[in-house]
Amino acid sequence: MEKLQQIQGVAAPLPRANIDTDIITPMKYLTSANSKDIHEHTFEPLRFLSDGRENPDFILNKPGYRDSVFLIAGRNFGCGSSRETAVWGIRGLGIRCVIAESFGDIFFNNCFQNSVLPIRLPAATVAELMAEASDDQGNMQFQLDVASRTLTTPSGRTITFDITPDRQTSLLEGLDDVGQTMKEDAATTAFQGKDRTERPWIYDLGTID
């Protein structure tokens, strides 16, 4: 996984609540999606007009916001399905940090598997950040520093956010969960050995042919 340590860039305000995973990755791309080009369709219902042209009112289509690396969204962002394509797409658009009052749980977890940092902040703070991000033509720079858990706004205000130490380390060092757990496989073998005597029916599954 790629490391996420410090980033600087524009933040796109998207003040709409409950943006679900069907908006982020429309279902028609689910069967063919891959991590490299799914972003071409990300936010499609908001991003394009019905004739296929770009919607000039969508924030990421506006001059100055096209290269946003932060997204400041309404609450419950990423609710809905488990599709990880939602995070791949956002990442593919260049976004590395999403800020909202709350997130869909699965989306929130998926972010950390893809070097994207979701930050939860109180509604009032999110509103203030949106205001700062909307202030200009979009060339206001925000800064993120994962090591110090801080977000610095264009006006120089510094906000500290919460992140658990394990997730912080994984982002900073680009660590991958699978490799880490596999190193500790002996613990799983020990667990299964003991559990098999307590709950044999879990392991001795019948079969249907």
Partner: protein, 476 residues
């Protein structure tokens, strides 16, 4: 004295392989369900990384999302069926994972098949790359949906890293009124709590109403947990659960059954256990529901009026309501009943089990689908289909003008190409009415099976209680 434990605490505790600190645990996964959409991809990723499946015998795979529901279908009947179906079959075979292919007598939607064959058991920890995995919690299991990176992790290690959520108990007491189904109960709850109320929580559904429900009704309730943000929803196992499981093909047998039963009886929440949040509902307040918007929380009783955006206090919700009403083509202040419909879809992991089809058939019997409506019944599994046919339910549907189709996700998500046309209005027994869920610009109203049939018959949204008071009895 030690504090009592919740059902959730007990199952979580019994699966900790290792604590990773900070409320983060490495948990053993007892059961992994794999489907054609997320599963094929994860198995491919695993292979590309040179890893193998650690415990294939604890996994089960089947195609459901991409398969066609056309009568007589093969994998080739849907655009991606062959590619995804064959990939899943071949990669499952290579890994030693049991697979129910499209022609298998147990194929179906993963969340219908798992419980009906006893793959899902009380006290087990089950995951699947699908957000409606919460369904399985109805069996007294701890079950939730995961993303594709997590899926690779489970395949490779048979464990999952998970942060312990908070606990929330939703207690529903009392008797449900005539014509009120499990689907109405959960929509009513989501409508009241809002679509973000369950975030970060594992839900336990409790109370006399839940106790009185069949397993299939509980599955419907738990299915929609994710629609208010909860990854896990569960019901404590009881005599109803044990009776349901006892003869299932994958259920423990003989001595193992007795041992399992003794273990399961210890799972329900202790009297003195404390939840982080408690809410309660009175079943008597609940009426048949129909959603009016593009989020499952945007729901009303069928005899109510379409809400005006300014009836919501918060600006954000007002904005959402405005956008939703425009998308849905609805006018605030009008009654929702009487809205013309084009399609009816009875199916999905929410409402495609035998008891759902029985209730639907009871309303359809002796009636005709309106001329302007295309109505489908898509059973959740081959087993449901076979049992329904043995009872003659398909004949009732066919005689009434419904299409009787093959099992799969079908129009719930339309990844198999079975879309609702732009601008068409569909009454669907599924769980998501998101923008574009059933196809670009499709307008979805969520409802229970009886309400869906009532809409098909009347050609418009209709209160099932006015349509069919007699036929509704005695069919759960």
């Amino acid at each position: 004295m030690t504090q009592g434990k919740t059902l959730f605490d007990k199952i979580w505790g019994s699966h900790v392989v290792r604590s990773l600190g900070e409320n983060l645990d490495l948990l053993h996964v007892d059961r992994l369900l794999i489907h054609d959409l997320s599963g094929s991809r994860a198995l491919m990723d695993l292979k590309e990384r040179g890893l193998s499946v650690r415990n294939p015998e604890l996994c089960l795979s089947m195609p459901d999302h991409s398969v066609s529901s056309l009568p007589g279908r093969t994998l080739a009947s849907s655009p991606d069926g062959v590619r995804l179906g064959n990939a899943l079959r071949d990669m499952s075979a290579a890994a030693g994972i049991p697979h129910y292919g499209i022609d298998h007598p147990n194929q179906g939607i993963v969340h219908v098949v798992g419980p009906e064959i006893g793959f899902t058991l009380p006290g087990c920890l089950l995951v699947c790359g699908d957000s409606h995995t919460s369904t399985h919690g109805a069996m007294g299991a701890l079950a939730w949906g995961i993303g594709s990176s997590e899926l690779v992790h489970v395949l490779a290690t048979q464990t999952i890293r998970q942060r312990r959520p908070g606990t929330m108990r939703i207690t529903i007491d009392g008797d449900l009124g005539e014509g009120v189904e499990a689907k109405d109960v959960i929509l009513h709850i989501i409508g009241h709590l809002g679509v973000a109320a369950g975030i970060g929580h594992a839900i336990e559904y409790a109370g006399s109403t839940i106790r009185g429900m069949s397993i299939e009704e509980r599955l419907t309730i738990c299915n929609l947990s994710i629609e208010f943000g909860a990854r896990m929803g569960m019901v404590a196992p009881d005599e109803t659960t044990y009776a349901y499981i006892k003869e299932l093909p994958l259920a423990p047998k003989g001595e193992a059954w007795e041992a399992a039963l003794a273990y399961w009886r210890g799972l329900p929440t202790d009297e003195d256990a404390v939840f982080d949040r408690e809410v309660s509902f009175d079943a008597a307040d609940m009426a048949p529901q129909i959603t009016w918007g593009t989020s499952p929380g945007q729901t009303v009783a069928v005899n109510a009026t379409i809400p005006a955006p300014d009836s919501f206090v918060e600006a954000e919700l007002q904005g959402n309501a405005e956008t939703a009403l425009e998308y849905m083509g609805l006018t605030p202040g009008e009654t929702i009943a009487g809205t013309k419909v084009d399609r009816v879809f009875i199916g999905s992991c929410t409402n495609s089990r035998l008891s759902d089809l029985r209730r639907a058939a009871a309303v359809a019997q002796g009636r005709q689908v309106a001329a302007n409506v295309t109505a489908w019944v898509v059973p959740g599994s081959v087993q449901v289909k076979t049992e329904a046919e043995a009872e003659g339910l398909h004949e009732i549907f066919l005689a009434a003008g419904f299409e009787w189709r093959e099992p799969g996700c079908s129009q719930c998500v339309a990844t198999n190409g079975e879309t609702v046309a732009p601008g068409e209005r569909c009454i669907s027994t599924s769980n998501r009415n998101f923008v574009g869920r059933q196809g670009p610009k499709a307008r979805t109203h969520l409802a229970g099976p009886a309400m869906a049939v009532a809409a098909a018959i009347a050609g418009e949204i209709t209160d099932v209680r006015e349509l069919a008071p007699i036929e509704l009895e005695g069919n759960t």
